[in-house]
Symmetry: C2
Subunit: 385 residues, 2 copies
């Protein structure tokens, strides 16, 4: 039998090490989500924009990390307003953490008004029709209902058009029964701070929102770490920045919260001429050794990664991908790695201490969170609290 | 309120139409999996290779479709042998459908021998060490244990090397306590039938397996629809072909089993110069109309699709993607589509009657099943039985 060093803590670098002895032996992967890192990132953003506040974005299961544990963690830290995309996400969140305000980005979708009301969800109103619908419903119920108004300044995706926004400025009674918590807009090109779209969108947003001086405003998202304070306003909607799925700036250190480990399924000696993977796109040139790992594109390790110099860590050693990524496997070159690290069942860092999510897609056309969002259900999950 | 034609069956083309009235109004997407299509595809393969048999490949939750319903359906159709990747998949399958033989591709992983035995899972033995381990265990238990032996002929991923295979030919006693159901290998380049690797792998496989004339053999997978009968052997392992995630040949018509519908979240009039999506990569040229749809890369509609002429169907009309795909949304140009089809909440075909999974990735570097495998949990699922 191969030695599986079950007694070695995998996570010696973390405050709260996690031991492999807790895992059933058949586990093929391990996802550790460090909620302490998310907390510290939250505080980093808080300091950066105080007195403005932060509303964490936890849609799509908190970018694959787990909506409920992330919400509970940040709620303890003081966050009380959260963004989700869909109504079902909102319902699940309200059931688990009833005290928080849940903002639903999809808005007051057709025929869902009763569901918003029943579950006390707060719609992001994206059209004049949605504003009128929610306003009439509030009148009918003889109450004030909360909402956000979303003005689109350059995404052409959701939110009021410029024409609708102009109409609203002259028809403020359209939301007379509503308690508008924020007017919001979303930047399209803020990954590139010098992009002329940013200034243009900010100007349009300011012009609109200043017609409603009594209402709070929200424009910035995670990219605010690169933008000046004129983008901050009253509240920022922070998603991937909280999870550390981005590059840091010289001033701001966001911690990676995600650690993904696969295992060595098989080791093999190879000789020059041996082809590796589908399409035989990689041919071995020197006598060496390969390790087949238990992670493939069914686990979010997308096939596009094979085109780049993607690597993993086995102990303190880098090992580069060779050949195409399969559905359930990928293969790395381990020729240079000492024998003691190489055994069937050995744990391999795919994302974590040495490899941030952003590193994986560096130099590609992809965004970091495309990997965690597809992590799937085959890996054991553990939350460090 | 917008009219949502709840009474119109979405699936008039199918034998067993599914009505939208069954859905809660807040649903943002609908996945219909037509198990009848999977059955018919199974029969198509069966006819093609009889008297050889088919072992369906249902790993990774049957490529995102649902492992248990797919297994139950094909078991009724006569399939009794199924492939999964991981041990946990195997345990879940055996619990749900105890009568079937479950072959675990990851093999007799370190320290998992008791789990294989307890759950009556059948390992695909990928190394000499695994063969010896299972053989010794059988002796210890004083019984015959079933297994497959996997000989790698050109993937360098899992399975015996040529050297190990040569050793085994001279050491047949190494599996004297085992009941070897099949010797298998896997083709690396069978998407291209003329690729010289195919003949080479077949020759190596034949040479090895003929040393064990009493053991059945398996080499072919879904691509057998393009290959001649010398590749068929005794059993074929069929995954995406059963689900119709491939192009048909002139002779063989495999049915698409997957239908994915998103909804129109918002409609917007646009004018020349309006930018669409992140990075403002698309700028509107003519006055027109856009629809924002409730499907993004969190739902498997991967971001890479925006680089190609990807389209959806709204009623009988094609609508092309514009701008980048976001996490929860994508945007299509609907300028040319009649008003009656365009309303908040309208259902939109992303994959289905007009758009096969293979169409989505046509002309790209990607494989069809990368989309369904990441479908995620936000869409309502319905199985047509």
């Amino acid at each position: 039998m191969s030695p599986l060093s079950n007694s070695t803590p995998l996570h010696s670098s973390l405050e709260n090490p996690f031991s492999l002895t807790d895992l059933p032996p058949q586990e093929t992967g391990l996802v550790i989500i460090d909620l302490q890192s998310i907390k510290r990132n939250y505080r980093t953003f808080e300091k950066l924009i105080a007195p403005a506040t932060i509303a964490p974005v936890i849609k799509a299961n908190a970018y694959g990390l787990g909506m409920i544990p992330v919400c509970e963690t940040l709620n303890q830290e003081g966050a009380s307003e959260f963004f989700v995309a869909t109504i079902d996400e909102g319902i699940a969140l309200k059931k688990a953490v009833p005290s928080v305000n849940v903002f639903v980005l999809y808005g007051l979708f057709a025929n869902t008004i009763d569901i918003f009301f029943e579950h006390q969800l707060i719609p992001v109103l994206n059209t004049i029709e949605q504003i009128q619908r929610w306003n009439q419903f509030a009148a009918l119920k003889n109450t004030k209902l909360s909402a956000l108004i979303h003005f689109d300044t350059g995404m052409s995706r959701t939110g009021l058009t410029a024409k609708e926004a102009a109409w609203l400025i002259n028809n403020k009674h359209a939301f007379e029964n509503l308690n508008i918590l924020y007017i919001m807009s979303h930047l399209a090109c803020s990954e590139v701070p010098s992009h002329p779209m940013n200034q243009k969108q900010k100007d349009a947003f300011n012009k609109f929102s200043k017609a409603f001086p009594e209402i709070k405003r929200s424009l910035a998202a995670s990219t605010l770490i690169k933008m000046d304070a004129t983008y901050h306003n009253d509240m920022a909607r922070i998603g991937y920045g909280l999870y550390g799925f981005c590059y840091n700036t010289p001033e701001i250190n966001l911690e990676n919260c995600l650690h993904v480990y696969s295992r060595i399924v098989q080791l093999r000696d190879v000789i020059p001429g041996d082809p590796v993977g589908y399409g035989a796109t990689y041919i071995v040139e020197q006598p060496g050794r390969l390790a087949t790992l238990s992670m493939g594109y069914a686990d979010g390790y997308h096939r596009f990664l094979h085109n780049y110099k993607t690597y993993v860590y086995i102990g303190p050693y880098k090992a580069y991908l060779v050949g195409r990524i399969s559905m359930d496997f990928c293969v790395v070159d381990v020729t240079h790695i000492p024998e003691e690290y190489l055994y069937e069942g050995a744990w391999v860092e795919m994302i974590g201490q040495h490899i941030k999510v952003a590193d994986l897609v560096s130099g590609t056309d992809f965004v970091p969170h495309e990997v965690p969002i597809s992590l799937g259900n085959r890996y054991h999950r553990h939350y460090l609290k």
